[in-house]
């Protein structure tokens, strides 16, 4: 793979592009030990997946997905009129799914390596 370097930061990576056309950069270097999949985009630079910077970025992204699921699946059901129209079973499901999402970042050591389940996926597992 190839890495474009600017100000000592990895600003672009590619398995095939060794030129990084038109990108403002200091140099392009080849990395024979890794592939693109081993790197994570951390805002303004790339870092190896095991780097603290990359781990924090992954946590941030998974939390964002978690938050979007709360907004998409749970929050609309909490409106009083909607909530009252649900069966007791569904009320219990949404309550439990909400707790599952809230607890997700503490659910395991590697929680940030995959997104939480959607509501439908979670229901299937129950």
């Amino acid at each position: 793979m190839y890495k474009a370097i600017k100000d000592n930061k990895i600003i672009a990576i590619s398995d095939i592009d060794n030129e990084f056309l038109f990108l403002v950069k200091d140099e392009v270097i080849e990395d024979t030990e890794h592939t693109v999949a081993d790197y994570k985009l951390c805002n303004t630079e790339y870092a190896l997946n095991e780097d603290e910077k990359a781990v924090e970025q992954m946590k941030k992204e998974v939390r964002a997905v978690r938050n979007s699921y709360l907004e998409e699946y749970v929050d609309p059901k909490q409106l009083v009129l909607v909530w009252e129209s649900l069966t007791e079973e569904k009320k219990a499901n949404y309550t439990n799914y909400r707790q599952y999402l809230l607890d997700y970042p503490e659910s395991s050591e590697d929680w940030y390596k995959s997104n939480p389940m959607t509501y439908d996926e979670w229901i299937e597992e129950q």
């Binding site: 600017k6 600003i11 672009a12 030129e19 038109f22 403002v24 951390c42 805002n43 997905v65 979007s68």
Partner: protein, 454 residues
């Protein structure tokens, strides 16, 4: 001019031009030359002829434009002057059209020697096309194709293809541009590949595990585009200029006007340059982004090396301020992926607004780019647009494209699903910054050239 009045007797001398040339003339007598032929300047236009008359003393100095069929001696469209060479008269081709005083710093002629056509995936090089086979140090054999040659490539696998002629087989073939190289040392072997060995001036092909020159391949003649193993378009025909790997070349007959100052009457002065042989430049490196034609060579040098002084009509070297007899031919890059030689000079009709407006619109030509991390900068290689199609990943994510040179920008807010097209215009040399929190898939990131920049 002098005027004499009150002449008592007016003497009129009637004679042939030959007699006139050797006669002792009197300023007070008139002369009538019975067999004089007007020069082009005298009649105000260059006569066109489909066959040149025998060169004689009577035609000395006359200029004709030859409009007959190109022969081994005369080329259609070129200008010929009758000259006296130690008492023997002959027609010589002149390298200048009658008046270039209002034009300079441009290409004025690119021979259209290659006639390549595409039909239903089949490429045909027409008979009469002219190609050049590198054949040892400094030698390029000119080959005129005797009969139509066709090939139907089914092996390019969505890659650009380089077309060239193989003299030993008398056919044409196409090799993926990824397997075309140049340089003084052999590249890693590529089966079916094509390497321009600059040390030995040979095009070598990868056959049975080694690089060999048995095919006697020509310099590339065109670049074609492939889609699912069918050639769909001819992107560029190498009439006049071409490239292979990181080597560029100019072909015989390319003519240009090298800026050479301003005449006392304010008109532009130029040196006419006609490329006499195949001129090759193997300069490489990221900084060699300009192509330059001089009186002695065709070379790759950084665009920033020279500056054109318009009010004085010449190029100078920025390093030492000295005048350089050169013409800027166009833009290129390290291992060439963009190659844009200028067209021959044509005046723009200001009333043709449709044509002018069309130049500022997007063309179908583009380069595929790699998107860098947020905040990375990109330099526009020409007038055009940076176009990004990327997924946001989450709602509320953003993507900003800012032209930091022109101080304009565009912002897109993302939706959780789907990708968004975002684009920003850029003039050549403008720096674009792309900052984003979009985390979805980058579907494509390209630079699209304006019609006028193709």
């Amino acid at each position: 001019m002098s005027t004499t009045t009150n002449v008592e007797q007016l003497k009129l001398n009637v004679m042939t031009k030959q007699q006139y040339d050797i006669a002792t003339k009197s300023p007070t007598e008139l002369y009538m030359v019975t067999d004089a032929t007007m020069t082009a300047a005298e009649v105000g236009a260059i006569p066109q002829v489909s066959s040149l008359p025998a060169a004689t003393s009577a035609l000395a100095g006359c200029i004709y434009q030859y409009v007959g069929t190109t022969t081994a001696t005369y080329i259609n469209g070129y200008f010929y002057k009758c000259v006296n060479n130690s008492g023997t008269y002959s027609w010589i081709r002149i390298n200048v059209q009658p008046d270039h005083s209002n034009v300079s710093n441009c290409i004025i002629d690119i021979p259209q020697d290659i006639a390549l056509e595409l039909s239903s995936g089949t490429l045909t090089l027409r008979a009469g096309s002219k190609v050049y086979v590198p054949n040892g140090s400094g030698v390029f054999d000119e080959v005129v194709i005797a009969s139509d040659l066709s090939v139907t490539p089914t092996w390019l696998n969505n890659k650009l293809g380089v077309v060239y002629y193989r003299r030993a087989n008398n056919n044409i073939t196409v090799t993926s541009i990824d397997y075309c190289f140049s340089g003084s040392t052999a590249p890693t072997y590529a089966d079916g590949g094509c390497w321009y060995d600059t040390t030995n001036n040979k095009i070598k092909r990868g056959i049975s595990g080694s690089w060999v020159d048995t095919d006697e391949s020509s310099l590339p003649i065109a670049i074609v585009k492939d889609s699912s193993n069918v050639v769909t378009s001819i992107d560029q025909v190498f009439n006049g200029f071409g490239y292979i790997g990181s080597v560029i070349f100019a072909l015989p007959g390319v003519r240009g006007l090298i800026p050479d100052g301003i005449n006392p009457d304010g008109t532009l002065n130029s040196q006419i340059i006609t490329v006499p042989d195949v001129w090759v430049s193997s300069n490489t490196g990221a900084s060699c982004d300009g192509m330059w034609l001089s009186t002695t060579d065709f070379n790759r040098v950084a665009i920033s090396t020279y500056r054109y002084i318009e009010e004085k009509n010449y190029w100078i070297s920025i390093a030492d301020g000295n005048i350089r007899p050169i013409i800027y031919i166009g833009h290129t890059t390290g291992d060439i992926s963009t190659f844009s030689p200028r067209y021959i000079f044509q005046a723009v009709d200001y009333s043709d607004t449709a044509f002018i407006a069309h130049q500022a619109m997007p063309s179908s030509r583009y380069n595929t780019l790699t998107l860098g991390a947020s905040g990375s900068n990109y330099t526009a290689p020409a007038d055009g647009w940076f176009v990004l199609l990327k997924g946001a990943g989450t709602s509320g994510a953003y993507c900003n494209l800012v032209n930091t040179t022109a101080h304009i920008g565009v912002t897109s807010d993302g939706m959780a699903t789907g990708a968004k097209y975002i684009y920003i215009p850029a003039s050549r040399g403008d720096v674009i910054q792309i900052a984003y929190s979009f985390s979805g898939t980058t579907e494509s990131f390209i630079f699209v050239y304006a019609n006028g920049a193709v």
